[in-house]
């Protein structure tokens, strides 16, 4: 019979301490084999199996007890505290009590350690809460695995949105869909009791709640009849908005509120926890399709227009239908639409996304997921930093307690027990840090509305984020706490368990192998900290440079001298003519104000994300092969170009001759002229919206480029149509001689005079709006900068602690050196040289990691390479300087040491 144990047996033996294995392992295997063999001889295969199970479980239980149990092996009725089974628990309890007592003896250490852990865990808890709420949490509605997303292709061929008529067509496929919900987001001004507020709404059909399988918590949901325009304006307020904006007032059901100047009847309150199609992004109100007029007259036209893709569709699969079956049904629909409406739907596909393929929206997902990954990565790094730092502190603490540990060992504490003491300490710290971290995380989340509000406003939106810390976050944090406790306790625990007993007792292990190993461990920790800090620093530097570049971009217009007012006439009851008259009156009054040089109308502000139309350019064959291009446009008044400071480079601007009914005219920017007609002149060429074959507009002028949607965009072609020919709602822009901000109050007063009930939706300087549009860039740079400062701080603390300790341990060596005539600066140099290698190693690793991680940021960078030498250099330099300082201070202290004093310690 072979005595070499098989793999399972080897594994089982590993449960025992090494000393036990060495001494008894061979014989344990022998007895194990004998038992199994005997079982087989006496009871056949079954007997063998029973014996095998018995012997194995005996081995496992024995291994566990050998390591962890303090139960008495000889006496069955040992005193209660030593009874089997309770041993583990009572030891752990004892260890923890001991750890807490020791931690309380060093309150400063405990406090700073707790804070360091709390920073790491708090940042992680906060970020996880956001990511979980937005992307991970199971949707709060009935059987989400049966709800699919359905999108038509956009003009760019990406499945992103659907026209309302197409949504109605989809709903006829009742064999694959048991219900089809169509929803279109909008931002409205809601006249709350305390003044106008922005609200995020969804115009939805009556199938919306049934598709999600939810019911209103109060009142009722829309009836199918509400899908027809003309049946009245109805709203259901979301539970979140009901709680936060109506103070959970039950009387809200049945009340009539005003949105964009129109009355809307609230008929119900949504279910708790359901925020709408956006998940964590809270929809304040759902409005029936019959209410689309609240969003503007064009929304009524929208419902009929197949070229307008304003809706998102969620559908519930009919019982037994797969996503693939739904997809083939939609392929059939796409083919039919292409046949019926070739001008609009030729080659336009329809895609069904399974519930796991898309969370919010294909395009939004593709932006949110990488952002979430980057954020989680950053806070993960911060946690790693916190852990390495604490590991360092604990090692130092452990070393200064070398005697205590050694005495414990001498008194018979096993290595495992000593390691457990350290682990108990680190777990206690992790737990404390976790609690403080959760509070910190909650506080950080409390700040998000401050960022999220302006952010939403900057992209023209509104609405809250529903970020509650739930059981999932608690669980995640608990996991982090356990991981943290082990992560930063492990190295110190192993170290103190391994420590050389006699050496420590003799003289704190100076020069012993354990001492060298601990220096090694701590150098590895310091190198890790330096590396992680460098990654964060480089990221912050890249984003900051990018932000600076964006801020330096010339928007093409005179931003410093412009203010604007956004108006909306109540859509009901004001004819186009009357509106034109009122706008003209507003322009005249604004222009007459002292300090105003000119005033002009525009449907779209410079550098404002906004709509585009599918446009056919005569004699231009776009590379896409579709025959049309997506072009952004603005509808502007005569004085627009003069007001914003755009020079005309060819042809003319709009004039009185471009009245309603005359040939439509258009002004293009230089990029458009170059792209579509170079080298020829654009003047006299024609363009038209793709959907209207007869509406050719003639190019009459070319103006300088301006930034269209974003400061960091490449040169973008743009069209300007004459407001006199196609009336629109929009903005009054004024150009001032002095500070435009100072003019805002008088501007407001003057416009109120035109009509007192005129809702002013926005009033600001263009400069403030532009800086708001950079908020996202600023937040990103700010977050990374904050974390990197934190990282550098932690790293420098770590270096400081390591060097201080290393120096203190060698104080007698230093003393001898100085006594033998070494100059103090020689000692300083020596200490610094020794740390230098570690720091340089950390920098090199960090630079490598940063170069690997940088491509993640690539998309967020403007005119900065992801491996920008300057950012890397500055980051490394800052870090090196801080590290040098953290080394220098303790080195100087060491050099100042009195040699006599140092030697007397011997």
């Amino acid at each position: 019979m072979s005595h070499r144990p098989g793999p399972l047996l080897r594994l089982l033996l590993l449960l025992y301490p090494a000393s036990f294995r060495q001494r008894y392992g061979r014989e344990v295997v022998e007895l194990y084999r004998w038992r199994v063999k005997r079982g087989r001889v006496e009871g056949g295969a079954l007997g063998g199996a029973v014996a095998w199970v018995r012997a194995s479980s005996d081995l496992v239980a024995g291994g566990w007890r050998e390591r962890w149990s303090t139960a008495d092996l000889v006496f069955a009725d040992a005193p209660r505290r030593r009874r089997a089974g309770e041993g583990t628990i009572s030891t752990i309890r004892h260890d923890l009590r001991d750890a807490i007592r020791r931690l309380m003896r060093t309150p400063f250490f405990t406090l700073s350690a707790t804070l360091i852990v709390a920073l790491g865990i708090g940042a992680n808890a906060a970020v996880f809460t956001v990511v979980d709420a937005v992307l991970l949490r199971p949707p709060p509605y009935e059987d989400p695995s049966r709800v699919v997303h359905v999108y038509q292709d956009s003009d760019d061929g990406e499945p992103t949105s659907t026209s309302y008529p197409a949504a109605l067509d989809m709903a006829t496929y009742t064999d694959v869909f048991s219900g089809v919900a169509a929803a279109s987001y909008a931002t409205v001004t809601w006249e709350a009791v305390d003044g106008p507020r922005r609200a995020l709404i969804e115009f939805v059909n009556a199938s919306y709640f049934p598709v999600f399988g939810v019911n209103p918590s109060r009142g009722r949901w829309f009836e199918p009849g509400y899908d027809e325009v003309g049946s009245g304006n109805y709203a259901v307020v979301s539970h979140h908005a009901w709680r936060t904006k109506f103070g959970s007032d039950p009387a809200v059901v049945g009340r009539t509120i005003r949105m964009n100047g129109q009355p809307v009847t609230v008929i119900g309150v949504g279910p708790e926890g359901f925020n709408g199609a956006g998940g964590a992004f809270v929809t304040d109100f759902w409005l029936s399709i019959s209410s689309v007029g609240v969003g503007g007259a064009f929304r009524i036209a929208n419902l009929e227009r197949r070229q307008d893709h304003w809706y998102g569709v969620r559908a519930r699969l009919a019982p037994g239908v797969s996503v693939a079956q739904a997809q083939s049904a939609m392929d059939a629909l796409a083919a039919r639409l292409a046949e019926d409406f070739p001008e609009i739907n030729e080659g336009r596909g329809i895609t069904v996304f399974g519930p796991d393929d898309v969370r919010l929206h294909p395009e939004l997902d593709s932006r949110l997921v990488p952002a979430a990954a980057v954020l989680l990565g950053i806070v993960g790094l911060v946690l790693v930093l916190a852990c390495t730092n604490l590991a360092n502190l604990l090692i130092v603490r452990g070393l200064s307690r070398g005697h205590e540990v050694a005495i414990r060992r001498a008194l018979g504490a096993s290595r495992g027990r000593v390691a457990r003491l350290v682990l108990a300490e680190s777990s206690t710290l992790a737990f404390l840090g976790g609690i403080v971290g959760l509070l910190l995380g909650r506080w950080i989340l409390g700040l998000t509305p401050l960022v999220a509000g302006p952010l939403a406003a900057a992209v023209g939106g509104a609405g809250d984020l529903d970020l509650s810390m739930d059981g999932r976050v608690l669980l995640f944090t608990l996991g982090l706490v356990m991981l943290t406790g082990i992560l930063f306790g492990l190295a110190p625990a192993l170290r103190s368990a391994r420590s050389d007993l006699a050496g420590v007792l003799r003289e704190e292990g100076r020069g012993s192998s354990a001492g060298k190993r601990s220096v090694m461990t701590r150098n590895v920790l310091v190198a890790t900290q330096v590396a992680v800090s460098l990654v964060l620093l480089v990221g912050a530097a890249l984003l900051t440079r990018s932000l600076a570049n964006v801020q330096r971009v010339d928007p093409g217009v005179d931003v410093e001298r412009l203010a604007f007012v956004q108006t909306s006439f109540g859509q009901g009851g004001v004819s186009a003519e009357e509106r034109a008259v009122r706008v003209q009156e507003m322009l005249d009054r604004a222009a007459a104000l002292p300090g105003v040089r000119s005033a002009a109308f525009t449907s779209r502000l410079p550098v404002q994300p906004g709509g585009s139309t599918t446009t056919v350019v005569e004699d231009y064959d776009p590379p896409s092969g579709t025959g049309s291009v997506e072009l952004p446009f603005a509808i502007v008044g005569e004085d627009y170009f003069r007001t914003v400071g755009l020079q005309i480079t060819e042809g003319r601007v709009f004039g009185p001759e471009d009245a309603q009914g005359t040939t439509p005219v258009v002004v293009v920017n230089e990029t458009a002229a170059r792209r579509f007609w170079a080298p020829g002149s654009p003047i006299g060429r024609r363009i038209r919206p793709q959907a209207r074959p007869d509406e050719w507009a003639q190019v009459v002028g070319v103006v300088e480029d301006q930034k269209v949607s974003r400061l960091d965009e490449p040169p973008t072609p743009m069209l300007f149509y004459a407001a006199s020919q196609s009336p629109s709602s929009g903005y009054v822009l004024v150009r001032t001689d002095g500070d435009p901000g100072a003019l805002l109050p008088s501007l407001r007063a003057e416009l109120r005079a035109v009509s007192p009930d005129l809702p002013l939706r926005a009033l600001a300087t263009l400069e403030s709006r532009l800086s708001q549009s950079l908020l996202l860039n600023k937040v990103a740079a700010g977050v990374l900068a904050t974390f990197s400062v934190l990282a550098v701080l932690l790293a420098s603390l770590g270096i400081y602690a390591v060097v201080s300790f290393a120096v203190a341990r060698r104080s007698s060596e230093m003393g001898i050196r100085i006594a033998l005539g070494a100059a103090r600066d020689q000692v300083i140099r020596m200490v610094m040289r020794e740390m230098l290698a570690t720091i340089v190693l950390g920098l090199a690793i960090g630079a490598g990691l940063a170069a690997l991680a940088a491509p993640v940021l690539e998309r967020a960078l403007y005119q900065v390479s992801a491996v920008d030498g300057l950012s890397f250099g500055v980051g490394a330099l800052v870090l090196a300087a801080v590290a040098a300082l953290a080394t220098y201070v303790p080195a100087v202290r060491a050099a100042r040491a009195d040699p006599v004093e140092a030697l007397r310690v011997q």
């Binding site: 036990f20 014989e27 007895l31 479980s57 005996d58 069955a76």
Partner: protein, 116 residues
């Protein structure tokens, strides 16, 4: 020697009792002890590998048994042989006495016939 404290802490764990009894018969090694105990109890007490060697280790440390040289030249040199010590013997005697008292009481109460 078993102190009064030892006696006060009786009963012994079954594994320990049986190991001590086996060693009262003759010095033996682990596998031998297991085999012996099996035979003596008709297989009702089957000492598992973990239990046996942990007990042997603990009992050695407490001085209830001690390691001895192999009794004859033909023995496997890699096996450890054990012998019961004085204190081990005293302890197992005390335990046997305790059990005997138990048996006597049972007989007085007529719950155990004389023949068993």
């Amino acid at each position: 020697m078993p102190t009064s404290e030892h006696v006060a802490r009786l009963p012994l764990r079954p594994a320990v009792l049986h190991i001590l009894l086996a060693l009262c018969r003759a010095d033996s090694h682990g596998l031998g002890i297991a085999r012996d105990v099996d035979r003596a109890t008709d297989g009702t007490v089957g000492l598992g590998p973990g239990t046996l060697y942990r007990s042997l280790k603990d009992m050695s440390e407490r001085g209830l048994i001690r390691e001895v040289a192999a009794p004859d030249a033909g023995a496997d040199p890699r096996r450890r042989y054990y012998s019961i010590t004085e204190s081990g013997r005293a302890l197992v005697t005390a335990e046997a006495r305790r059990l005997a008292r138990l048996v006597r009481t049972a007989r007085e109460l007529d719950i155990l016939p004389e023949s068993v």
